[in-house]
Subunit: 196 residues, 2 copies
Amino acid sequence: MTAEAVSRRSRITPEREAELYGAVLDLLREVGYDGLTMDAVAARTRSSKATLYRQWGSKAELAVRALRSQKRVNLEDVDTGSLRGDFHRIVESEDDCRMEEDSALMRGLAMAVHANPDLHKAFRELMVAPEVTGLGRVLQRAVDRGEVGADNPALPYVVHMLIGAYVARDLVDGRPLNQSFLRDYVDSVVLPALGV
Amino acid sequence: MTAEAVSRRSRITPEREAELYGAVLDLLREVGYDGLTMDAVAARTRSSKATLYRQWGSKAELAVRALRSQKRVNLEDVDTGSLRGDFHRIVESEDDCRMEEDSALMRGLAMAVHANPDLHKAFRELMVAPEVTGLGRVLQRAVDRGEVGADNPALPYVVHMLIGAYVARDLVDGRPLNQSFLRDYVDSVVLPALGV
């Protein structure tokens, strides 16, 4: 986040921010990204459109930050002492109901990126990049502990494997994402590919 | 394909079918799935809407079959004698230009499935299921040759890993899909996860 963005956002309280994000997520569930308007957000949260644009700059940034606010866990803070433990802790950080709800929202946004270049940019910068960085820290600690070779060729692709689990669960299996599926995927695919 | 569908489709020549599919793909590139109309397909191909509906049943089926007609290789026909060879042959079956073009179309359709239940159904039945079946044959031959253990826990997830490569290449790396990336992904992720 730029210093300017921090200063912009610091003008509202965390409670008010959470309230606004909640309203945005409700609207995203109701009408999807393309149907979301700043007018509707302003009306539902009794704020002015000017305030919304001043604080968030764009509908794309507001939507992505609202979705990101749902994350319970910063990946880079997960440090159980083993890579398997770290992955399982990450999987367990959301219960199944919450995971299905959030993944539907995430899919909705990820789908809309292709028709909306500014959303594509916000999604990559504010949602994907921090996860890639956080996952990189988790993996680096595994390398430092000697669990994974520093030159293991699967290291740059862990995020690809994980995204595959999210997308294919719906598209191939036609089943909801849940903890037991993700745990099995981590144990069956991600850890073996890393030689753990 | 049902016998009824075969009989429906057999009324037009393969050349005419290819011409129709080409027009549908052009329109998908120009206006996307949501913008595609049977009127536009009829106009561009000088056919009647009644003919289109009789032959394909729905816009969803027509779009998915048009995309599927682009596949150069039936996965289950790939049989080089080794799993690594099979995967590389599959990767090499499309040149880089074609791959980028097709993956953009495929992404477009895969994205639209979430707002269109009939497209979701057609996409899963006519696009995903045959690939899963074909990949299953390739993997079964590797098991029969003794390359992969029959109880290898990554076997049900190969399609998830591959879909991850397709989706994340754009979303995470922001780079086009190509043969060298896919070859590296197969060698770094898919084969190691399978213990090959």
